[in-house]
Symmetry: C2
Subunit: 359 residues, 2 copies
């Protein structure tokens, strides 16, 4: 087991990474002993892991109730949030209760937001069961639901007490979701760590073949990189925005295609192609490095073309992205491979050309 | 103008109290200059104060859009929250925008919660226009909406940048709302400040007659007392719960009678009678002091009898109150007049008797 610490003063927490951790009572005991616990999950994850988790919680001295939400991105809605709140109230859970999010990014985002607002905030633990959630969404305290006008438009910063990333849960992950998770792994290399890009270029086939040691290292390195950024800028006042590399385009792809059509990681993969193209056109990334970006995304089996929407529609959808300032969209560009920079002064023509080049 | 500071480290903020402050551009300028501002208010308050506030914001260098929500407690709902979020998105407000809550406790609670969750949190200013909001709900960062199963069950701690309490706005407040506000003023005396109780006994008629100097002092003293408690325990880990004196019973009254039937302050007034009765029966308050509580609440013109619900229904409604711990309701008792204590070990028989005595 590897343990990484997210350093946030009184809100610091550990990320445990390893195979078989989901059923390890010792990891829950410090937070769950003597508590009433709601386990939020969905009908896809529950048959695989719920029993194992509830047994571990019982062994840790907690009494747990499951709360099921629907599968898929559409669960990040007011309606699902209200159903979780209703279930917590029906179970008469008080402010001293604990919530556990068992599942992928959607479960973590929704359950984390429910924990943030239930009775003005209760503690929660993330037990991510997809690669995307393990390397990205479960770490850093961002929680949210979607709005028809834009993704993650309603949410909170609410840090978990712990993240328990069991890489054995990835055995049952569909291939498409595995590849979507690899998109966020690759992203951490592109924006922060050139040697990690080289490691990924050498090990991408192992990840796709679910080699457990390779997966464990990829999760660990991603979490280390993300934890450093989050510790320096918890509430995204500045630097943290670089973690959204590929996301401004990606959110437009997801919203434009209709939530649920594209997996988040797929949209980020294609969004990174657009952002790398924009970086090349803006002169911050060499063309051969942009080709390296494209080659790695292609080897990960991610889509290489965005949906065929009008360019105007892309621009309109990006306009509501949260990274706007004074109405102007800010873009995260690669400033060489392994480095990222935030730019709010780009010529719209370059943005249009970059979208068109990846459609 | 009086200014009180709520000391919360980096989240400290001023409360300005005086007549005519609502239209004073200088109070908004430090936070609003160059910003886009959404002013959340309702159709009752807007005709009285919106134009004046928008003029002050413009003078302060801000560009503002009004967002209207319905009047009354029913506005603290998912539906109203979604309408505010929708309006902010339609106006293309980004994370750098500012929200102003113009109105009573309902507007402040809902608008504050919208600010807490819009794009994971934007700053906001409270401009309370009822006595209840000026002395209580606008101070301390509690925001929330209601759930059919209980009041304020969904919310956040989100501190404002400033509170601007213009006592001139109380001129147009209906009598019933004035009395409801006085209930929370009295509460601060009962739990924290015996000399203030004596001042209220001497000046209650002046408050009811809207004597401006008396109102200004009552608002100031209430805010000072509340600010001290909030500074010591921002997130209600312990001591802050005493501010809920009368509220456990009061929330049951509001929910049992149907939201909107009783004003919040009226329910708190009658709830304080039940809590004082319980304190007397539990032996922490002398009977003659309990009579002093009752006499002052009577002189304020507040209801002296709770709704005729079955005692079981009261107990059931109190069970979902957020102050439960391990499923047991905790009560705030008076430990002599001017002092409060939190008790989780009370005999249910005493609780039943206290409710029955005030029905």
């Amino acid at each position: 087991m590897q343990t990484i610490s997210v350093s946030l003063g009184a809100r610091s927490y550990p990320i445990h990474i390893g195979a078989g951790l989901l059923g390890d009572a010792r990891l829950y005991a410090p937070f769950a002993k003597g508590k009433r616990v709601a386990v939020v999950t969905n009908p896809v994850v529950a048959p695989l892991h719920l029993e194992n988790l509830q047994r571990a919680l019982e062994e840790a001295g907690a009494q747990s109730v499951p709360v099921l939400i629907e599968d898929g991105e559409q669960a990040k809605s007011w309606a699902s949030l209200d159903r979780v709140i209703e279930a917590l109230l029906a179970a008469r859970l008080g402010r001293d209760a604990l919530l556990v999010a068992l599942g992928g990014g959607v479960v973590g985002d929704l359950a984390g937001f429910a924990a943030a607002v239930y009775q003005r905030g209760i503690p929660f633990i993330q037990v991510p069961t997809t690669l995307l959630a393990q390397v990205d969404s479960s770490v850093g305290g961002k929680t949210a639901i979607n709005h028809p006008r834009g993704k993650n438009m309603v949410g909170a910063f609410h840090q978990p007490l712990a993240v328990i990333a069991d890489v054995a849960t990835l055995d049952t992950l569909p291939d498409r979701e595995l590849r979507a998770g690899i998109a966020e792994v690759i992203k951490h290399g592109f924006i922060l760590d050139l040697p990690f890009v080289a490691w990924l270029e050498a090990n991408i086939e192992k990840l796709l073949a679910r080699d457990r040691a390779a997966l464990e290292y990829a999760v660990q390195r991603s979490c280390e990189l993300k934890a450093q950024v989050v510790a320096a800028d918890e509430r995204e006042g500045g630097r943290r925005a670089i973690l959204n590399f590929g996301h401004t385009f990606g959110h437009a792809i997801e919203a434009g295609a209709g939530y649920g059509e594209w997996l988040h990681g797929e949209a980020v993969g294609t969004g990174m192609l657009m952002a790398a193209e924009l970086s090349a056109r803006a002169g911050t990334l060499r063309r051969d490095d942009a080709e390296r970006v494209k080659a790695l995304i292609a080897r990960a089996g991610l889509p290489l073309r965005g949906p065929k929407l009008a360019i105007e529609r892309y621009l309109e959808l990006m306009q509501v992205d949260k990274k706007t300032e004074a109405g102007k969209v800010r873009f995260i560009l690669l400033d060489g491979l392994g480095r990222a920079t935030l730019r709010g002064d780009l010529d719209e023509r370059l943005v249009r050309e970059s979208i068109a080049a990846v459609q």
